[in-house]
Every structure is written in C-alpha cells, then in structure tokens.
Subunit: 211 residues, 2 copies
C-alpha cells in the first residue's frame, strides 16, 4: 500500500514506528480510551500521517489486535502440537515461555481478553482456527491417553487447559490487586512469577492425579 522497504536498515520505517506506538498505547489503554493523537505523539509523527498509512483508527486497531493475538497463540500452537515432547514437558514449556513473555508484555493478557469480550474483536476468534488447533493437538491426545491409563483423574481436557492457563496468566491480570495485598513492588512480583515456572508444573502434576 505504501513504499516497500527493500532492505531498510533497521525496522524504523514510518509504518513500523506507527505500529509500535499503536501497540504500546492500545495495549495499555484499550481501544476506547486510546486517542489517535496519543499514538501519533508516541510515534513522533503527525496525526495526519497515521490516517495516511492506516485509513482509520479502527483499521489500525484491527492490525494490532490481529498481530497481538496471533503472536500470543503461535507459540502455544507450536508447543501443543509437538508430538515429541511429553505432556509434562509441555506444561513446563508453556509455563516457562509465557511467564517470561507476559513479564515483558504485562498488558497483553488483559488487553486481549477485554477487547475480545467487548466486540469479539471483529470476529477474530472465528477467523483463527483456534478450536481445531487445540482439539486436534498432540496435547489433547496425550491427555486422553493419560486418562485412559488412569494417570489423570479428571477426564475433561478443558479443565486441564483452563487450570494451566489460569495459574500462569491470572496473577499478571490481577497484579495491581496482588501488589496491593502483598505490598510488593514490581521486582518482588516478578520474582514470585519466576518461582512459578518451577512450581506450576509440580502443582499441575499433583492436581491432575487428585480426585
């Protein structure tokens, strides 16, 4: 649509600068509270230029939203579908990867979840093959096998997945509350999350045998 960088030195095309700024502001404030002027300011460019590259606030948002959700999901997809790693290993990998990821981008979970709730993000969930991705994954097959062998008590794989995501993601979403309760600063909070990389796999293992 606009000039295509051939071998542009650093990814500092204007388009990329605007997207980077939009990511920051949208992730932090959400669609409704974001002012296009703030994005332009953050990007160090003029408001008119934003509309030149992306026709509207909404188009820009859709771009950012799609890339954010896609970026979040793709690692999950990779891990869940790896035939070689065990179920235990998958739990470890997901806990470890996402705790680091969200520590760096702490606004992403609540951003995604609240925007998806508000407007279903323009049918984003329908466009991404989430259901097949998860339901046909090696993860689900391994879970079924473990249930069949009596190694896992709770037969519903959705509970398994919910539990894993809950333990990994929720503390970040509730961070301000937990910092308030525990009187933690950011560093101490992150330290707690690092501990959870080791703890969550242990916990999940114990939970799933219980009945």
């Amino acid at each position: 649509m606009v000039k295509k960088k051939e071998t542009k030195a650093l990814d500092t095309t204007t388009e990329e600068k605007i997207k980077a700024a939009a990511r920051v502001v949208f992730h932090k404030k959400g669609y409704a509270a974001t002012r296009t002027r703030d994005i332009a300011g953050e990007a160090g460019i003029n408001l008119a230029l934003l509309n030149y590259y992306f026709r509207s606030k909404e188009k820009l948002f859709e771009t950012i939203m799609f890339e954010t959700v896609f970026g979040f999901m793709q690692n999950m997809a990779l891990v869940l579908n790896d035939e070689k790693s065990s179920l235990e290993k998958k739990v470890e990998l997901i806990a470890s990867y996402y705790i680091d990821f969200i520590t760096k981008e702490p606004n992403i979970p609540i951003f995604m979840l609240s925007e998806i709730r508000n407007n279903n993000a323009g049918g984003l969930l329908e466009r991404l093959p989430i259901k097949q991705l998860v339901m046909n994954s090696a993860f689900f097959k391994q879970h079924q096998e473990a249930v069949a062998k009596g190694k896992i008590a709770e037969p519903n794989p959705l509970h398994f997945l919910m539990n894993l995501l809950s333990l990994v993601v929720f503390p970040f979403i509730a961070m301000p509350l937990l910092q308030g309760i525990g009187g933690l600063n950011e560093k101490q909070f992150n330290q707690l999350m690092q501990e959870r990389k080791r703890l969550i796999p242990v916990w999940i293992k114990a939970m799933m045998k219980a009945k």
Copy 2:
C-alpha cells in the same frame, strides 16, 4: 443529596434506576466506551437527569466502581476472617460462592481488573484496607500453621491465594476463548464451572502438599 426515600415501596427511586442502569453498562463496556446516553436510555430517563443526580459521568462511575469492588470483597473478607472454619472449608466456601456470584455477574471480574489497571480506579485500592484485611486474616494464620506442621509445602501464602483465585476467576475472564476452543454454549460453560465447585478444593489440597 436528593430526596431520601423513607419507606419507598420497591427500590425503584430514580437514583436507584440510574445506578442499576449504570452498573449494567459500565460493567459491560468499561468507563471509556460507555456513553452517558446509553445509561440514560437503559434507565428509561433523560440524559439531563443523570447529571442532576450524579454531577458527572466520572462521579457516577466512581460510585459504581466503589460499590462493585466493595461488594466483591466483602464476602471474601467475611470468609477469610472466620476463625471457626478450617482452611479447607474456606477454600470450599470461596470457590462455591464466587462461582455462583460470577456466573450471575460474569462481567464483574474483567471490569474491575481492567479499570483498576487503567487508572488505579482513582486510588480505590489505597482507600480500601485490602492489605490488612488479607494479611491479618484467620486464613493467613491457618496457612502459616499448616506450613509449620508440614501439611503445606509452599510457604508463601500469596501463592496459595493466587492459585485459588486463579482457578476460580480466570475461566470466566477467558470465557469467550474457552467457548471458542471447546465449542461450548453458555449453558455448557456454566456446567463446567459448576463442576469446579467440587474440583477446585480437591485440586488445591493436592497442589499444596506437592513439592
């Protein structure tokens, strides 16, 4: 500030109608996306009247936000501080109560958490004595005792609390995603949550012994 109902038949004073409407709209869309016109419409009154009762959108929001957070917390406070019930019982009570509560009001968790993140909700967290409430609770004392007796492996009570809240609250926040993954309708989703009333206490018990 306005007329005080003496023994008003049903709580259908205009003020209460506006607040009820504001709750619905704010909880669903959040502060920034809410239009005062929508609230007035939902309440079946005129826009001007809204400003007559509550001086501004922000004042109305603060009222709703405070009552929402307070309403959410007060049961937690009651349960956590009950000296008579055991730690196990507390877990049961919280899981059971909040699963029912959030099933009826599914927008509340993400509403509270995203508004608190956005603007700290006008220092709401500082005004409510959350920290003392939790840190001095019977819940925390019982947790410490259990750790001392070797009944609980993980000594940090924040992990315990995070885990409990995660398992209870997160599935609701991620509901659209989980419905997409599992292909569930609302009824089936609620069924899953009902199962968790029984499962979460079992899981928590198993987790906390694990190391």
